[in-house]
Amino acid sequence: MIETFFFYAFALMTLGGAVLTITRKSAIHSAIWLIVSLAGVAGLYLLQQAEFLFVVQIMLYVGGIMLLFLFVIMLVNLDDAAKERQFNKQWWLGLACSAVVALEVFYFIRKGAASFQLAQPAPAAPAAEGNIQQLADVLFSQYLLPFEIASILLLVAVIGSVVMAKKRA
């Protein structure tokens, strides 16, 4: 009962925030609506007992990535862009294609729900250790190599973004 209410509340936050993100004129407004949307996604993680991802979503997305976006919006002069047309000439084509793909996916999820037995609510979780402990066990044993590769990826990204953004000597 209460879970249903929270699901719809977070879904409204997520989708409403997303729609406002892609329709606002000013990039700052878009960024703030994106924060609302990402916070809604964080709430959905919490509803599905993914507590670690909830914390990561708040800290990394709302705290990290959005801060980066806001800094760049302030560094780059967007006033001229805000006065111009916001959608390109093919916007209706993009809208139509996305709508068709979305309807197709909706249709197949609805059709496939029965055969994959996804329509029932998920069975109750067996009482085990907490989410973070489970994640750490799997991440540091089974997925140790991808974890290390991810750290190299982040190093490359840090160096790459500094090289990109620095003034040419």
């Binding site: 878009s30 994106l34 990394l60 976006f69 996305s98 979305a102 909706f106 489970q134 973004s161």
Partner: protein
């Protein structure tokens, strides 16, 4: 009104978020908002992964979501770096004005 929430609900929500993000990428001119739409798309993928992880009682989906978030962070950092370099050279953030390679 009070149907229990199933995995299908999460899949539908994820598909809707993916569609909204795709519209943002295809229809907006401002590169900053295109990058934000890419974040929306990656979040739609994460909702899907976490929903299946919850459904199958396996944390592998959540591990995958963590890697997706890592890649999203790297993508945002490099993308915004490119945007700053681009703005310094071309003085515009509108995607359809950057048409040097266009026929």
């Amino acid at each position: 009104m009070f149907h229990p929430i199933t995995t299908v609900h999460y899949l539908m929500l994820s598909a809707a978020l993916l569609a909204i993000g795709t519209i943002g990428v295809l229809a907006r001119r401002n590169i900053v908002i295109i990058l934000m739409s890419i974040e929306l798309i990656l979040n739609a993928v994460n909702i899907n992964l976490v929903a299946f992880s919850h459904y199958f009682h396996q944390v592998n989906g959540q591990i995958f979501a963590i890697f997706v978030i890592t890649v999203a962070v790297a993508e945002a950092a490099v993308g915004l770096g490119i945007l700053i370099a681009l703005f310094r050279n071309k003085e515009t953030v509108l995607a359809d004005k950057i048409n040097l390679l266009k026929w």
